[in-house]
C-alpha cells in the first residue's frame, strides 16, 4: 500500500487520506475587483501538469489536519510533504532530503 508521510503523524497508509486538489491557489483579496474571466480562472482552471505538482491533502482518518504535498502525477510518488502555510519546497532539494516512498 502507498504510504504518505503526514507532517504530523509520519508515514501512514493512503486510505486514511483525501486529496483536496491543487495547492497554493490564493483567493483574490477583493473579489468585486476581479473580472469574470479571472474569477472563472480562479474557480475552475487548474494546471493539471504531467509531472510534479503541489496538492492539498487531508489526513481525515488520522490527525484531521490539512497539509501540502509534492506529488508526481506520472509515477504517483510523493516527493515531499510540508505543513500548510509553508512555501513550496524546491523539488531537487526535497528529493534529496525526502526520498520517494512509492
Amino acid at each position: 500500500m502507498l504510504l504518505i508521510d503526514c507532517p504530523y503523524c509520519g508515514k501512514r497508509p493512503e486510505v486514511e487520506f483525501h486529496c483536496g486538489g491543487e495547492a497554493h491557489i490564493a483567493r483574490p483579496e477583493t473579489p468585486t475587483a476581479v473580472g469574470d474571466a479571472d474569477w472563472g480562472s480562479f474557480l475552475y482552471y487548474r494546471t493539471n501538469p504531467k509531472g510534479v505538482q503541489a496538492e492539498r491533502w487531508l489526513h481525515g482518518h488520522g490527525c484531521g489536519r490539512w497539509f501540502n504535498a509534492l506529488r508526481d502525477t506520472v509515477s504517483d510518488a510523493f516527493v515531499a510533504t510540508y505543513e500548510m502555510g509553508k512555501p513550496r519546497p524546491d523539488r531537487d532539494a526535497a528529493t534529496a532530503s525526502t526520498p520517494s516512498n512509492a
Binding site: M1, Y8, C9, R12, P13, V15, E16, H61, G62, C63, G64, R65
Partner: protein
C-alpha cells in the same frame, strides 16, 4: 443529557462469543471529552485537572498506570480525547473549563457518541490488523500509542495498552459492524 441517558440505557451491542485466544469484549460506558486547544494557548500547562497533555501526537498518557480514570489520547497537534469515569463527566468539564478561563479552547462531551471494545490476547495485533492498515509492530506502534485510523470501512480510535491489549473505539452506529469484524477476525 437526555441523549446521553438514552445511550446508556440501551446497550448498542451485546457480547458475541468466539472461542479463539483473542477476546473482543464491549467496554462499560466511559466518559469521553473531545478537547481542542492550540498548543500555544496551553502556555506551558502540562497538566489540566489531572490530564497529562504533554504526550507526543498519537500517544496515550495516563498518570496512574492502568487506572484509565484520567487518560488523555493525543489524536492530533491540537486535539485530545480525554477519557474519564462515566459518572464524572460533568465534574471534569467544570474543572477543565475553570482551569482555562479566558483561554480559547473547545471542550465537548461526546460520551454518548462512542462505543469501546477491548481486544485482548496473544495475537491481538493480528486481529486488529485484519482490517486496520497501519503498522502495529512493537517498534512502530508501541504500548502507549493511540491514534485515529480505519478498521474495514469504519473510522476507529485505536489505543495500545500493552503488547497484546488494545482498545478500539468507534461511533455507535458503526459498533455492530466493528464488533462483527473483530470477532470474525478472531475466528480466522
Amino acid at each position: 443529557m437526555l441523549e446521553r441517558n438514552l445511550a446508556r440505557r440501551a446497550p448498542t451491542v451485546s457480547p458475541l462469543v468466539s472461542e479463539a485466544s483473542v477476546t473482543v469484549r464491549p467496554l462499560d460506558p466511559q466518559g469521553r471529552l473531545a478537547f481542542r486547544i492550540k498548543p500555544a494557548a496551553l502556555a506551558g500547562r502540562g497538566t489540566i485537572d489531572g490530564f497529562d497533555l504533554t504526550g507526543a501526537i498519537n500517544s496515550r498518557t495516563s498518570p496512574e498506570a492502568d487506572s484509565g480514570m484520567r487518560t488523555a489520547l493525543r489524536l492530533g497537534p491540537d486535539e485530545w480525547m480525554l477519557i474519564t469515569a462515566a459518572d464524572e463527566v460533568d465534574e471534569r468539564c467544570e474543572a477543565i473549563s475553570a482551569a482555562l478561563t479566558g483561554v480559547p479552547h473547545s471542550l465537548v462531551d461526546v460520551s454518548h457518541r462512542d462505543v469501546g471494545f477491548s481486544v485482548e490476547g496473544p495475537g491481538a495485533d493480528v486481529v486488529v490488523n485484519a482490517g486496520c492498515p497501519i503498522d502495529l509492530a512493537a517498534k512502530a506502534f508501541p504500548a502507549g500509542s493511540a491514534t485515529r485510523t480505519i478498521l474495514g470501512k469504519a473510522e476507529i480510535v485505536l489505543a495500545r495498552l500493552a503488547a497484546d491489549r488494545f482498545t478500539v473505539t468507534t461511533w455507535r452506529t458503526f459498533a455492530p459492524y466493528v464488533q462483527g469484524f473483530l470477532v470474525e477476525a478472531t475466528r480466522s
